[in-house]
Symmetry: C2
């Protein structure tokens, strides 16, 4: 199996989601539609819709609600991206200028608000209180997670547990919601819905950890990203936490100084990467992530083997691929 | 009747709303609760809850949903204030440092998002699709209105119609929602609910127009605000629009230059105020607003006369008072 095969399996649905995303941009304020179209036309893998659609099919559902709710999830996700890019002062997103870079911070914040409320309008129309609560709660958790991350900026002693809480909130909770909703759409047993929710959560954690590893140890020609972004933003992520816990006293002191200063230079980054090589952090962090991926696959064993289960298992591997 | 009498009439409910506002600040991220408490403890007149509660009582309702939904409305309102203050770079709000001034722009944007999603969680729990749609739509309209206002910044030829669209979106739509929901809670006839919605809208428009007049022509010792904020932000508001349409050719040219420059000096403001005196703009704008207030009172005539109708009629006058 490869990623194109997966997209091919649910081609009709993914195309319908793309249409859904644009069809709600019906504001009578042109600028709102312009900003939102700019963002959605820049593409993206639509991973969350793909997870929701596959989970719904695994649960035996194949109706239109998976399209509408995928649109809702992608709106919520995009709203958080818009606000995050404003907060981080990001200049680029998906290889194009970020919305804040093109339209300004103020309009970008407000278009994020528009997408949130447009998402909730569609949720109200869909009319399922359980699904509504899952997504309202996910949106709440995401905003809390971002605040928690900011509060923990440049905190060298950040516990692994708090790191996991941050990435659960900013990434895993929405993946979990997508898979759980897929199960709910199929009206399958509570236990199976729970496994899908847990599957989405564990995959989401692995996805974010893998991203955080690539930020230090990825090859820019494959990832398309300049390394060290997290360091510049004072974020303590998995590879840095593992390194901190293995470094000797002198190294630890130097590391702490770099993090606390909140102004790491290129030399600082090179030093950290060399230490990561010394302590074999890449392999250790990847092992850590692999455990999550394996756990996620275990959770799907409650379902009979079929092409949708295969596809979800494949995706669990795919989201942590080093050259995705 | 005076404002204290109105608050006394619904004292229990207003106190319950205050409790409701703080009771949902249950985030396990302390900073989120801290920012939200900071904002809610700084007070405010809770005008929107007061309108909702009085409208619900006029409609014969007196249960707890008016409290919960008042909390929802105040959360949505506060979320927009937080985002607006970030966008405008506001330093103060309600006589205290603004949240963005104390906690920074990034945390303030995210706490706005938290309040939005917390509001929607409570809306989901309340479980009334009609009410949910009214408020999701109001939130959407508010974000659109703010974008529209930004797009129209420094547009000297702004049509009165577009000005009304802006203030409808940023202020009146939520007042309208409050009064409409009050009617829905009371399960009164569609026609009466419509009148309440229209009443809220017209009062909201009058309220915002009155605010916009005070921004040029209020007495700082009464309003507690430095005049000319709207001018500095390039906003074309009612008094400036009326002045533009009455000014002679030379004055108009000078006015246009000031607006388009987007950097009005104190002398520019003094010049504009002197022109407003010359053309008697205060009286003209206040007449304009009075027409709205009178219209709003007409809309309540569909209800039997009682203390709640009296209180709403009083409030329609109160929100445009020059020294409130």
């Amino acid at each position: 199996m490869d990623i194109n095969y997966v997209y091919q399996m649910i081609k009709t649905e993914v195309e319908s989601v793309e249409k859904e995303l644009l069809s709600n941009l019906d504001s009578d304020v042109d600028m709102v539609n312009e900003v939102a179209s700019y963002v959605f036309e820049s593409g993206g893998k639509r991973l969350r819709p793909v997870f929701m659609i596959l989970a719904s099919k695994l649960a035996g559902y194949s109706g239109n609600r998976a399209i509408v709710l995928s649109g809702v999830v992608e709106y919520i996700h995009t709203a958080t991206l818009l606000h995050d890019d404003v907060i981080d002062g990001a200049k680029f997103r998906r290889g194009r200028k970020s919305a804040n870079n093109v339209f300004g911070n103020d309009i970008t914040v407000l278009c994020g608000d528009f997408l949130y409320s447009r998402a909730f309008m569609n949720l109200v129309k869909d009319g399922d209180p359980k699904v509504q609560m899952i997504l309202a709660n996910a949106a709440k958790t995401m905003s809390e997670g971002e605040v928690f991350q900011l509060v923990k900026t440049a905190e060298f002693s950040l516990k692994l547990e708090d790191y996991l809480k941050i990435i659960y909130s900013k990434t895993a909770v929405l993946f979990s919601a997508c898979c759980e909703i897929g199960g709910i759409l199929g009206k399958i047993k509570e236990e199976k819905v729970k496994n899908l929710a847990e599957f989405g959560k564990v995959v989401g954690l692995a996805f974010q950890m893998s991203d955080d590893i690539l930020d230090y140890l990825g090859e820019p020609e494959k990832t398309g990203k300049k390394p060290g972004t997290d360091l510049n933003e004072g974020k303590m992520t998995l590879p840095l936490i593992l390194l901190r816990d293995l470094a000797d006293r002198d190294e630890k002191k130097k590391l702490r100084d770099i993090i606390v200063s909140e102004s790491a230079t290129d030399e600082d980054l090179a030093y950290i990467i060399s230490l990561m090589e010394k302590y074999d952090i890449k392999a250790k962090a990847e092992n850590f992530v692999d455990d999550y991926v394996n756990k996620s696959k275990e959770l799907l064993k409650i379902f009979p083997e079929n092409e949708y289960r295969d596809a979800l298992e494949f995706l669990a591997e795919y989201v942590i691929q080093r050259d995705r």
